[in-house]
Each structure stands twice: as C-alpha cells, then as structure tokens.
C-alpha cells in the first residue's frame, strides 16, 4: 500500500491496511434496525418526496413523447435513410449495458466469493431491473406499430406467421426477455428473507400484511436456508453466462450486418466490457448520493467505492483495447471501406463525437483511476461516474451513427440529427429510472440484511467449547 492513510481511522483494518467492508461495532440488531428503519419509518424524509417528484416530472417526457410517437409514427424522430437506426437503439444499448453491472455484482462476484459485494448487490440488482425497463421501452416503441410488438414472440396465430430465427433481432428478443425475467426472479428471491424481517419488524398492519405476503411465510428454517442458498448459487451460476450472452447478442445486431464499422469479431467482448464499465459507473452514481443521504457510510464504505473504481479501471482498459483494435483493424484489413469509415469517424463531420468519447471514456478515467487517493475521493468518483456514463452513451452514438451515415455509396450519404422528440424520450427514461429507484429505496430493503449479517464477526460458529481460536471459516 503506497499511499499513507491516517492510522487512527477506525474504518481501516490494521492487519491489511484496507478499508473495512463494514464499520466496526455493528451487530445483528444494529444492521437490521438501520436497514429496516429506512423502509419502516413513518417519517419519510422530505428529500425523498422531492426526488420522487423530480423523477416523475422528468418521466412525463416518456409519456408525452410516446403519445405523440404513437399518434404520428417514427417520422417524428431523426431516423431516416441512411441513418435508419438512431436514438432508439443507442439508448437501448446504453441502458441495457448499465444494467449489466448489477448482474455482475450479484452473480459473478458471488461466485468469486467477493463478500464485499453483499452491501451493494441489492440496489445494483434494482438498478439492473429499472435499466432493463428503460431499455425495453425503446425496441417496443421503435417497431413502428408498437401495439403489435407481441408479434416478436413465437405464438400460434391465425396468420400462420412465425419469427425467423436466423436473425439477430429475434435472438435479441429471447436474450433480453430472458435477462429481464431472470433478473427479476433473482432480485425477488434475494429479498424473501428480508421481507420476513420487515414483516416481523413492521408496526403498521398494512405493512405487516404486505411484507408478510411478499415473504411467502419465510421463517428462517435451516432446511429452507440450505435450499435457498443452493438456489441462489444456481441463479448466480446461470446469470453469469446470461449476462455475458445478452450483450454479446446485442452486439450481434451490429456485427452480423455487413457494414464497415459494425462487421467485426471484437464486438462481443468489447460490448460486454463496455456494459460492465458503464454499469459500475451507474452504481457509483447511485451509491454515492444514497449512502450520504441515508447515512449508510458504515455499510457502503470507501472499500466498496475503491473496489468498484478498480473494476472500472479494468473494464475501461478492455474498452480502450477495443477502440485501439478497431483503429488497427481498419488499417490492417486493407479494406478501403473500413479505412474510410475510421477516417470519417475520427475526422468527418461527426468527428467531435469520437473525440468526446475518447476523452470521457479513456483519457479522463484511465489516467486518474490509478491513484488510490482519487479512488477513495467520493466527490471525484461521483463526477467521474457521470463522465463515464456520458462517454459510454457517445460510444453507442459513434458506433451507430458514424457507421451508418456514410456507407458504401457516396450518392446515398446523408446525416443524422436527433429531434426534440428523441431527446424528450431519452431524458424521460432517465426520469423514469430515477422515479422507480426512489420508490425502491423507500419500500424495499436496499441492502440485503441477511447477507450483511453474514459479514459480521459474530457469525462464526466457534468449535471446541472454550477454545475460541478454532474458527470454522473466516468469512470477511
């Protein structure tokens, strides 16, 4: 550990020099009270109402934008030929990418026994679900006749028409709907024991009743716990290949097309890394204000922020490699079209977007995140997370727009300009996301209580009577 830290800081473990995952002095009761108290309080903070209303107000953008869209058709958007894919697909990929960090935290880090993830996994999963809700809006509304969107699914119908399974767009339907379903199931299963706690601690009859129903009668029986743990591990093991496949399939939407800038084999890993990169940025964007507002610094500690920043550094590196490889291949392929596409992407009329992308996704984060001092600087991380999310949006913009608007035939070249309706629906989904997230932090336990209890030192079962030294397993 290179950086000097104050040794008397109680949050630093003297053995390792690392920040603690949970502040010292907590016990089963105090963590339960702290987390359940946020949900069961009769004193809702005013700031919560303000945030909910702000989110709701911005979310009306989706309602107004979609109403007009359904009345007039997709012509109100900036999509045209040759730029036939615009904001809808950009925002779809951006949102679904954000969701991926939630699954990574809840599934992959669980399999790797990274117990520090326990305190952030619930709201990362919630973030996943709300991001998928926002993402799912776009393919549904951009199909032209959204009331027929169910035609995407294979179902017996009188027209005898069925999906065409050689198309990546049909794969997408399967990947995203599976992802949404499994994420919701995983999230709910994770909350069952906590609903039991809330049922037992609630004082209002209505809250008791609702949490009682949601808990399915959970009583903490050991046999139940063993099956529960088994199911959680299985769901984690299933979500891991799922999350990797979802963004891979989304990248196939592009990579299978024979268009310079899209037709490349590096897309699947590079999309997945980018998804996780932006997702961790979004977890930081959410976690930093929430831990401040609800005073959760004891459970979402600097260790979590530091670790998340490290994951961003790693995935950001993969993304940078992806950008580098795209540039290299456009030269090495010796393809005239590839070369022109890259030149146009960098120095064409929309070159500014490419340089914003390089600045926000590579230049700023990948130079500064090496510093531990900056990784534990909460303000800096918050600003950085916004920068990276901007950068990841521009990545999708660059991929979609600059590959499309000047294709093989110069006579068909055009440009792309988003309209106010594009912006309204995009900004509206951010409001929708905020709105749903505020509802979540108020009514559902945002930190998994049962998993936090497992991180406490009291958890260990001491064997051999008084010989307390023989501890079964060091969990934290």
């Amino acid at each position: 550990m290179a950086t000097k830290v104050p040794l008397n800081d109680p949050m630093i473990d003297p053995r390792t020099g690392e920040y603690a995952v949970i502040a010292p002095g907590h016990n089963f009761k105090s963590v339960t009270q702290k987390i359940a108290g946020i949900v069961l309080t009769s004193n809702t903070p005013l700031g919560w109402f303000f945030g909910l209303m702000l989110g709701g107000a911005v979310a009306t953008g989706v309602v107004i934008g979609c109403t007009w869209l359904f009345l007039k058709g997709v012509g109100i958007w900036g999509v045209t030929i040759p730029g036939a894919w615009g904001f809808a697909i950009i925002n779809f990929v951006w949102w679904i990418g954000i969701g991926h960090a939630g699954t990574l935290i809840s599934a992959i880090l669980l399999l790797f026994k990274q117990t520090w993830r326990n305190s952030i996994n619930r709201f990362a999963e919630a973030m996943t679900i709300f991001a998928v809700v926002c993402a799912g809006t776009f393919p549904l509304i951009h199909v032209g006749r959204p009331w027929l969107a169910y035609w995407l699914f294979p179902y017996p119908n009188t027209m005898n028409v069925w999906p065409q399974f050689r198309s990546p767009l049909a794969w997408d339907v399967f990947a995203v709907s599976t992802y949404a379903t499994i994420s919701i199931v995983f999230w709910y299963v994770g909350m069952i024991p906590d609903f039991g706690t809330l049922r037992d601690r609630a004082t209002m009859p209505f809250a008791k009743y609702m949490y009682g129903l949601l808990s399915l009668g959970w009583r903490g029986s050991t046999r139940h716990w063993i099956r529960y743990e088994s199911a959680s591990l299985l769901l984690a093991g299933l979500s891991t290949p799922l999350v990797l496949s979802v963004h891979t399939v989304i990248s196939f939407d592009f990579a299978v097309a024979a268009l310079a800038g899209w037709h490349t084999t590096i897309f699947p890993p590079y999309f997945v890394a980018g998804a996780i990169y932006s997702g961790f940025a979004m977890v930081l964007t959410l976690a930093i204000p929430i831990r401040k507002f609800y005073h959760l610094e004891d459970m979402v500690t600097l260790r979590h922020l530091d670790n998340m920043a490290k994951v961003m550094l790693g995935t950001g590196g993969i993304v940078a490699y992806g950008y580098g490889m795209e540039v290299f291949m456009s030269w090495y392929s010796a393809s005239h079209w590839e070369f022109f596409m890259m030149w146009n992407r960098m120095f064409g009329p929309m070159g500014w977007a490419y340089w914003i992308l390089i600045l926000t996704n590579i230049a700023i984060p990948l130079t500064s995140l090496w510093s531990r001092k900056l990784r534990v600087n909460v303000t800096y991380l918050f600003i950085l997370s916004l920068i990276v999310n901007t950068g990841m949006w521009f990545e999708r913009f660059v991929i979609v727009v600059t590959s499309l608007y000047r294709d093989y035939l110069p006579s068909s070249w055009g440009t792309y300009r988003a309209t106010k309706w594009d912006y309204m629906i995009y900004v509206g989904t951010m409001g929708l996301f905020t709105f749903l997230f505020f509802l979540f932090v108020r009514f559902l336990p945002m930190i998994p209580m049962s998993e936090i209890r497992m991180m406490l030192p009291q958890t260990k079962v001491k064997r051999g009577g008084s010989d307390a030294a023989s501890v079964v397993e060091e969990r934290v």
Binding site: W171, A175, M454
Partner: protein, 180 residues
C-alpha cells in the same frame, strides 16, 4: 400427518449461533430427530448438526434447463423448417448454428425459473401460517438476531417435561411451548 391440536413443540432461544449448534448436536445425539433450527441468516453448521445435507434444488434446476434447451431447439426447428419456411439469403432451412442462441437463452430461462420456483416449492412456501409464529418471542428475533431450536412434539422421544429439562441444560435465553 402431525396433530393439529395441542403442542407443536418446544422452542429454545439462543443468543449466538455457537450455542444453537451445540444444542442441536446434543439433541441429535440424545436421539431427537424431528427438529428444526431457525436462524436470521444461513448457518451451515446447524444444517450439519441436523444431518441435512442434500437438496433437490440442483436436480430441479438441471431438469428445467434440459427442458428449456429441448423446447427452444425443437420449436425453432419446427417453425423454420416446417411451419414457416423462408429462404433467407440462401441459408439452409435447418440453420442449426443460428438456433443455438435462442436455445441457450431458454436453457437459462427455464433453469433459472426452475431453481427459484423449485426452491420455493420444496420449502413448502408460500405458507403464511406456521405454528412457530405463535411463540411470543419468535418473531421478535428469528429474522433479526436470535437463534432458535424447535424440538417437535411428533418426535417419539418428545415428552413435555423431559424435553424441557433437556433443553434447559443449555444456555438458552428461554424455552417456550409452541401451540398449533
């Protein structure tokens, strides 16, 4: 079928998982079999003390996954080869590599749903009523910070006085009768 009247069992409350596990091991040793521990988080040692090792959740999950992959693959083949054959850029009707991807997704979908609902079903949930909720101290602690051992009345060795005496030799906070 357990009796629906009278006593369900005796419930001992402990402050630490260690005390719970020791009491459970001793009860098992003394010949009790129909018993259950209730803890606020998974205590694997308690499961060992109960000799509860295997769950059928992984099997249910595997069967679900196999069902998913079969369903999706057969459905795709039937649709694209027989029900609605389309010539897409001269590709064969049975484009098996392309069919792998939706089949892969449905493997995960069916396996995940089977794991989750299988767990819930094997646990007998939803079961909103259970006799242990009748114990006055149970809901105060079982999902927060206390550890419970319940020796059930259906056990042939169960006797209200003897079992109570047995449980009281441990550092239990309380031993209470649980009614049906």
């Amino acid at each position: 079928m357990p009796p629906r009247e009278g006593i369900y069992g005796l419930l001992a409350e402990f402050n630490t998982p260690t005390e719970l596990v020791e009491a459970t091991e001793a009860a098992r040793h003394a010949g009790y079999r129909r018993m259950e521990c209730y803890t606020p988080y998974p205590v694997e040692e308690a499961a060992e003390a109960l000799h509860f090792h295997t769950t059928r959740v992984p099997l249910v999950c595997l069967l679900g996954g196999l069902m998913g992959v079969t369903t999706a693959y057969l459905m795709e083949t039937w649709i694209n080869v027989w029900a609605y054959p389309l010539n897409i850029a001269g590709r064969p009707l049975f484009s098996w590599p392309a069919f792998i991807i939706p089949a892969y997704e449905w493997t995960i979908l069916f396996a995940g749903l089977s794991a989750a609902f299988g767990m819930i079903a094997l646990n007998g949930m939803p079961q909103l009523y259970h006799p242990v909720f009748n114990a006055p101290n149970f809901r105060n602690g079982a999902t927060t910070d206390k550890f419970f051992l319940c020796l059930e009345a259906v056990d042939p060795q169960f006797s209200l006085t003897e079992t109570r005496k047995f449980l009281e030799q441990f550092p239990a906070v309380s031993v209470v009768e649980v009614d049906h």
